[in-house]
């Protein structure tokens, strides 16, 4: 585990029980059991995990929205459970479900929230930067998922926070919104903001995060930079890494027969193949020679090293939750 230099958030042994639940015969359900992490200033820290892993609960305990059952949380050195307006003014929160009143219009809403701060960000550049000016006259109720997310992000940022919590920031984002939002998040990190986000998308973590905590069943099961996590479980000495070759070609080809049993071949959809395992140049030669012999030209072809998704599945198991 790394040691904190300039932490904005420290969580040690967090425990959170909810209930009592009728579905558990009136017993409490432990949603978070002994989770520890910290987040640095000027870094993006990602909590990566499947739905129900306890990511949102962890964030909400850190934000003071839920009272923890046990453990210690320090948010900018203070206990979020007894936080006053002073601490809240230094922390920006973007909730998973937005938290915006449906009847509100974007600009008056942002202006209202900015009034809660002594020295908020100027509205204009934020609105322009997130493209909110393009839907400024539309009520929140009629905004698209991506527009809502951008407005929620603006609402979290208007107070110029030192710490920013983003719960599933890419949920519902169209590619264009995603680009806008991700660029801004990276820029805020570079400006020195401490950013903590949750995601169940490996791609988000891979693109954004400086440090990743993989969360499973309410505890952290692995952590590291994306590069560290990608090398997890590999013998760095022999230089062999797992790769996957994806290609689209006519359906029903006997690729496994052509390549032998050292690699795993799957045809996920008709004509959509993946070959994974410890691929060597010989495998590629064999495959292309076989294509040449059969007169097959693939429609697409892509080779990928091990993805964060593989790491995640290795660690948290392949069972579907």
């Amino acid at each position: 585990m790394r040691s904190p230099e300039s932490p904005v958030l420290t969580i040690e042994g967090l425990i959170k029980d909810v209930g009592p639940l009728a579905s558990l015969d009136g017993k409490m359900l432990r949603v978070v059991s002994g989770l520890s992490l910290f987040a640095e200033r000027g870094q993006i820290t990602a909590l990566l995990g499947a739905n129900g892993a306890g990511k949102t609960t962890t964030l909400e305990c850190a934000q003071g929205l839920q009272k923890r059952t046990g453990g210690h949380i320090g948010l900018l050195g203070e206990d979020p459970d007894s936080a006053g307006a002073g601490l809240r003014s230094r922390v920006g929160v973007m909730l998973q479900d937005g938290g915006l009143p449906p009847s509100a219009r974007p600009i008056p809403l942002l202006r209202h929230i900015s009034g809660m701060y002594e020295n908020p960000l100027p509205l204009e550049p934020l609105v322009e930067r997130l493209g909110i000016d393009t839907f400024a006259r539309t009520g929140v109720r009629r905004l698209s998922g991506g527009q809502k997310q951008r407005l929620s992000l603006a609402a979290a940022l208007i107070g110029n926070p030192e710490v920013l919590f983003l719960d599933e920031p890419s949920a519902g984002l169209d590619p264009q919104s995603r680009q806008i939002v991700f660029e801004l998040i990276a820029e805020l990190r570079d400006a020195g903001m401490g950013i903590i986000l949750t995601t169940h998308l490996m791609d988000d973590a891979q693109r954004l995060a400086d440090y990743v905590y993989i969360i499973d069943a309410g505890r952290n099961v692995a952590e590291g930079t994306v590069a560290e996590l990608l090398s997890h479980g590999h013998d760095a000495m022999d230089g062999i890494t797992e790769r996957t070759l994806y290609f689209d070609a006519p359906a029903g080809l006997d690729i496994a027969g052509a390549l032998g049993s050292e690699v795993t071949v799957t045809e996920s959809r008709a004509g959509s193949y993946s070959v994974s395992g410890t691929l060597t140049p010989q495998h590629l030669a064999k495959l292309t020679a076989w294509w040449a012999e059969k007169g097959i030209m693939p429609v697409s072809l892509r080779l990928e090293a091990r993805s964060l998704e593989d790491v995640f599945l290795d660690i948290s198991g392949r069972d579907i939750r």
Binding site: Q63, G64, L65, G84, A85, G86, R88, S89, R90, V91, V93, L95, D97, G98, G99, L100, P101, P102, S103, A104, H112, I113, G115, M116, Y117, E118, N119, L121, P122, P125, L126, E128, R129, A155, L157, G159, N160, E162, L184, E187, L188, A191, G192, M193
Partner: protein, 258 residues
């Protein structure tokens, strides 16, 4: 090329003063309430229709010299119930559903500021209602006892407090659809049979015994005492206080923010 946001450049200045945060929230909630068409119908149109209805029909005949004098205090009480209980309850219920309460409680406003803001909005809308109802009532020939105004307005505020506490209790404990159903149903039931616009003596025997212990009956009856006779009946004040304190404490205890 987009220009970078001026984040973190300035020294962090902290939250706006508490007073300003609460006033801002009160103003915001008031504007939201007034802009909501359904709320306006409930808060202004229906009470005015009831006022006109009670003035032109013989329903209140025999209870005093002037129909409108008997009707207006009850209409004012109905206004308090509309805004503080039904309107505010439904709005809070849906704010809770959409995560608005959770989001705003992470801003410097906080949970307390949020609730105080809602109470301010209820009072602001109530002031508007009293003004409008008083003007219309004056046109219909309303002559309240001048000494009734001070206790009358105090009782209205106390009644609004009781109905706000009840509205928050409902909104904070059940789903918003249920809040909608419960607060609308109670508005109709209490409005018709709760001793609020129709004095207890004109109600069925069974209701007569109960209404004095209800917030509707005690507010309606005490406002009639104030504006018709210039008197304050302490038992009604006690009933209203209890309806403020007990649901208020229950709301503090059981209100769910998510």
């Amino acid at each position: 090329m987009t220009s970078p946001l001026p984040v973190l450049e300035t020294k962090h200045a902290g939250p706006a003063p508490l007073f300003r945060r609460i006033l801002l929230q009160g103003r915001y909630e008031t504007i939201t309430m007034i802009r909501n068409g359904e709320q306006l119908i409930l808060a202004i149109i229906l009470p005015l229709l009831a006022l006109v209805g009670l003035t032109v029909t013989p329903l209140l005949d025999g209870l005093g010299s002037s129909r409108v004098d008997i009707a207006v205090p009850g209409i004012l009480a109905l206004c308090a119930m509309s805004t503080a209980f039904t309107g505010q309850g439904i709005a809070t219920g849906f704010d809770r559903r959409y995560g608005v309460l959770r989001f705003l409680s992470t801003t410097p406003l906080g949970r307390t500021g949020l609730i105080v803001g809602k109470i301010l909005a209820v009072l602001a809308v109530l002031v508007l209602q009293v003004l409008i109802v008083s003007v219309v009532a004056a046109l219909l020939g309303w002559h309240p006892r001048p000494e009734g105004w001070l206790p009358g307005l105090c009782l209205l505020i106390l009644g609004a407090a009781a109905f706000t506490a009840l509205g928050l209790l409902v909104a904070g404990t059940v789903r918003p659809e249920a809040t909608l159903a419960i607060t609308n149903l109670l508005w109709i039931l209490l409005g018709a049979l709760g001793g609020i616009v129709v004095p207890a003596e004109r109600l069925p025997a069974l209701a007569q015994n109960i209404v004095h212990f209800l917030p509707s009956g005690s507010l309606g009856q005490s406002l009639r005492d104030a504006f018709l006779h210039g008197t304050v009946s302490l038992p009604y004040v006690v009933v209203l206080l209890l309806w403020t304190i007990i649901p208020g404490a229950a709301a503090v205890r059981w209100f769910k923010w998510n």
